[in-house]
């Protein structure tokens, strides 16, 4: 470990830039590190390599090895030492290389990270962000395409969020880092470098509050709810449905714990039909929770049961089969048709 050096730190971009999700995350990290010297980035290969997805590209060069830590190769070690660093007053941002590798760190996340604030009745704060590239669609081998977010949303003490576009990627990451709660930050890895999703990111803008869902498209035929990579699928489905004379509400959840279901309830009361979409297995999932809460709150408004379009209740299949496993435009529209036919 080299001694701390006074390296030159380039100021984060202050002007509006067209960014991919990946670049927006990089800029968000850079801005957070610039704003607060206690913010450190740690994980496997995040330094010289810039992470296997290059999200941390250039950060170690500009902030030094003492703020961008290329760690040994062990997830429990990454999370467990981050907890200690947070107790000391740092704000670690951990990168888990792929979501399927988070499980060795699950013990530290669920036993310590999620509970220290409660255990000590607020005397210890653990402001840690764990960045998790998640989801399929990249043709990868086993353990590289999973969607374990429901496990974390089920763990009290953790916040769980997921972004679907560059503006949210930038701002939600900055807000998560600024939060005193531990945040699991799920990033749609197959959209990281999508040129089609490039969007203007204004570092001087006022962001949406972190723990809020957002209506992306207004319609009155049915409601689609999704998060992360499935948001794009739903937006594409809504565009296709329009050609068939249907107008769909599309809501990006953004926050999975806490769930902000106010806009969902409002929408369902208008449309009477709800389809939830996510890549994770459907049983005991975010989609299940939404279905339960919507029937509780909107029982008399529902014209059809809440339908779920999710990954199957199987381990993630060999990726030659993932096009069948992942919710796509056709499966979403098929679900909308079923809801309308009720």
């Amino acid at each position: 470990m080299a001694a701390p050096t006074q390296s030159r730190v380039e100021s984060p971009a202050t002007q509006v830039q067209q960014l991919t999700i990946g670049k927006a995350l990089n800029q968000g990290l850079r801005a957070a590190m610039e704003a607060d010297k206690k913010v450190i980035v740690m994980g496997e290969d995040v330094g010289k390599l810039g992470g296997v997805f290059r999200i941390t590209d250039g950060l170690q060069k500009d902030f030094g090895e003492h703020r961008v830590l290329d760690t040994p190769l062990a997830e429990s070690g990454i999370i467990g030492t981050a907890v200690g660093l947070a107790v000391r007053g740092f704000r670690p941002v951990c990168e888990i290389q792929f979501e399927g590798f988070i499980f060795p760190g699950f013990d530290q996340i669920s036993s310590q990270l999620a509970k220290l604030h409660y255990r000590t009745q607020g005397k210890i704060k653990v402001p840690i962000v764990i960045r998790v590239p998640f989801g399929g669609g990249i043709g990868a081998v086993e353990h590289h395409s999973e969607s374990p977010e429901s496990l974390f949303a089920h763990t009290p003490g953790l916040r769980v969020v997921s972004c679907s576009n560059p503006v949210d990627a930038y701002w939600m990451l900055r807000q998560a880092i600024a939060s005193d709660d531990p945040v699991l930050f799920f990033e749609p890895k197959r959209l990281y470098h999508s040129g089609a999703l490039k969007a203007p990111v204004d570092p001087s803008a006022t962001p949406e509050p972190l723990y809020t869902s957002k209506v992306l498209r207004r319609g009155d035929t049915a409601t689609l709810v999704a998060y992360g990579p499935s948001v794009k699928v739903c937006l594409d489905a809504a565009t296709a449905a329009e050609e068939d004379g249907m107008s769909l509400d599309v809501i990006d959840l953004r926050t999975l714990s806490p769930l902000d279901l106010g806009p969902v309830f409002e929408s369902v009361r208008r449309t009477g039909r709800l389809v939830t979409v996510s890549e994770s297995s459907g049983e005991s999932s975010i989609a299940s929770e939404i279905a339960a809460r919507v029937q509780q709150e909107c029982f008399y408004s529902l014209e059809a049961p809440v339908l779920r379009v999710t990954g199957f209740d199987t381990p993630y299949p060999p990726s030659k089969l993932e096009e069948h496993f992942l919710p796509d435009l056709d499966r979403v529209l098929h679900a909308v048709d079923r809801a309308l036919a009720w």
């Binding site: 470990m1 040994p72 429990s76 005193d180």
Partner: protein, 402 residues
């Protein structure tokens, strides 16, 4: 089986091979011997007979421990043992849900705990009542955990004493991260620097987190003292189920120093801990200390050690009692008279009576405690759940009680 250092490695032709379920008689005997001996590399400054042994390496670290200071260490251990016995009894009387006895480990905890400076941080497991006492945590604050009315709410910053950690080995990584923070903040490098100490048992050394803690500490030169209290038993599993090497020797594989000290020798534990902490302060850490001791009571009050260990073993260790050897030394050297010992015992009895009184009068937490401080930021969902549940409860009160 020529040496205890090799006791878990069967020699060729030494008898029938052990199975996972049942060690051979030879291994049992060898294990017993190794359990009661510390091996040739055991650091000891005060032997079980209360004789002071010279140690050119470690004597300088206890040069200031005169008779008065030794009387202080004696008193610490007596008070902690008395509080431990009282708590154990209170569990038997149904006042505590469970108790984790420290009987036999007073020297390891007081010796290492008294080696710490105010600026240091200690990360305990769940048996470190003696360290808590040494760090100024009111013993009564520990009781809430075992009465199941809280999870441990002391001011960790003020005491430099992290909350108890019950999951085996988790705290080793947390402590290592904390020590990395001390290093990153430049608090290491001179005699006034900061250090961290983390406590765990011999069973924890099998956990991945302990291994990872050793790795992280080594590669980041973290100022952390790994203080393993090898009390020979992880509930019913002996140390031979954790390692075929003496635990302190593992440090070499990670690239830092490991040392075995007589965990029943408060002077030895104090000296070795001071040395290790100094190494860390100066940036020469980490260090692994194996305090070779013995858990004289059960793992917890739910445990029955008669099912898995021999009474002979217990009898051997009784002769190595950490308190009796200091008492013998003080008596032999004229460092204390009978009046002193009587006074300490009387103070310990008062201490225990206060503890008992406190415990018996400890109120249950109010129901709203369930919902408090889950998050740092507000949680409308939890606020709603709390309001709904309190409203539900108040309905019973309005109806005339429940």
């Amino acid at each position: 089986m020529s040496s205890p250092e090799q006791w878990t490695r069967p020699e060729p032709g030494a008898g029938p091979a052990a199975t996972a379920a049942e060690p051979t008689p030879e291994q049992v005997i060898a294990g017993l011997r190794a359990t009661t001996e510390g091996g040739t590399e055991l650091t000891q400054l005060l032997n079980p007979e209360g004789e002071r042994l010279a140690s050119p390496r470690f004597d300088p670290y206890v040069a200031d421990i005169d008779a008065e200071a030794l009387r202080g260490l004696y008193k610490d251990m007596v008070l902690v043992r008395r509080a431990d016995r009282e708590s154990n009894a209170m569990q038997r009387q149904g006042q505590l849900g469970i108790w984790v006895p420290l009987l036999g480990q007073e020297a390891a905890q007081i010796g290492s705990g008294r080696a710490l400076q105010p600026q240091d941080m200690a990360f305990p497991s769940y048996r470190e009542h003696g360290v808590a006492y040494a760090r100024g945590v009111d013993f009564r604050e520990l009781l809430g955990i075992f009465r199941c009315s809280d999870h441990g709410g002391w001011d960790f910053k003020r005491h430099g004493f992290h909350p108890y950690t019950i999951v085996i080995g988790n705290q080793v990584l947390n402590a290592t991260g904390y020590a990395m923070g001390q290093k990153f903040e430049g608090k290491v490098g001179d005699d006034d620097g900061e250090a961290t100490i983390v406590y765990f048992g011999d069973g924890a050394t099998s956990q991945g987190d302990v291994h990872e803690g050793f790795v992280w500490a080594a590669v980041y030169d973290a100022p952390v003292v790994f203080f393993c209290q090898n009390n020979q038993w992880a509930i019913s599993e002996p140390t031979e189920r954790q390692s075929r090497l003496p635990l302190y020797q593992r440090a070499r594989g990670y690239g830092f120093e490991g040392i075995r000290v007589d965990g029943n020798d408060v002077l030895g534990c104090l000296a070795v801990s001071r040395w290790a902490l100094e190494e860390c302060r100066r940036g020469n850490g980490p260090v692994l200390i194996e305090a070779f001791t013995y858990r004289m009571d059960a793992h917890t009050t739910t445990d029955d050690p008669t099912r898995y260990r021999l009474s002979d073993e217990l009898e051997v260790w009784k002769h190595k009692d950490p308190i009796e050897r200091v008492r013998a030394h003080l008596a032999r050297t004229g460092g204390a008279d009978q009046a002193f010992f009587d006074d300490v015992q009387a103070e310990a009895d008062r201490f225990a009576a206060e503890l008992r009184d406190f415990c018996f009068n400890m109120p249950d937490p109010p129901p709203e405690r369930i919902f408090s401080e889950v998050y740092a930021d507000p949680s409308p969902q939890l606020d709603a759940q709390r309001e709904e549940y309190l409203s539900y409860l108040s309905g019973f009160a309005e109806a005339g009680g429940h």
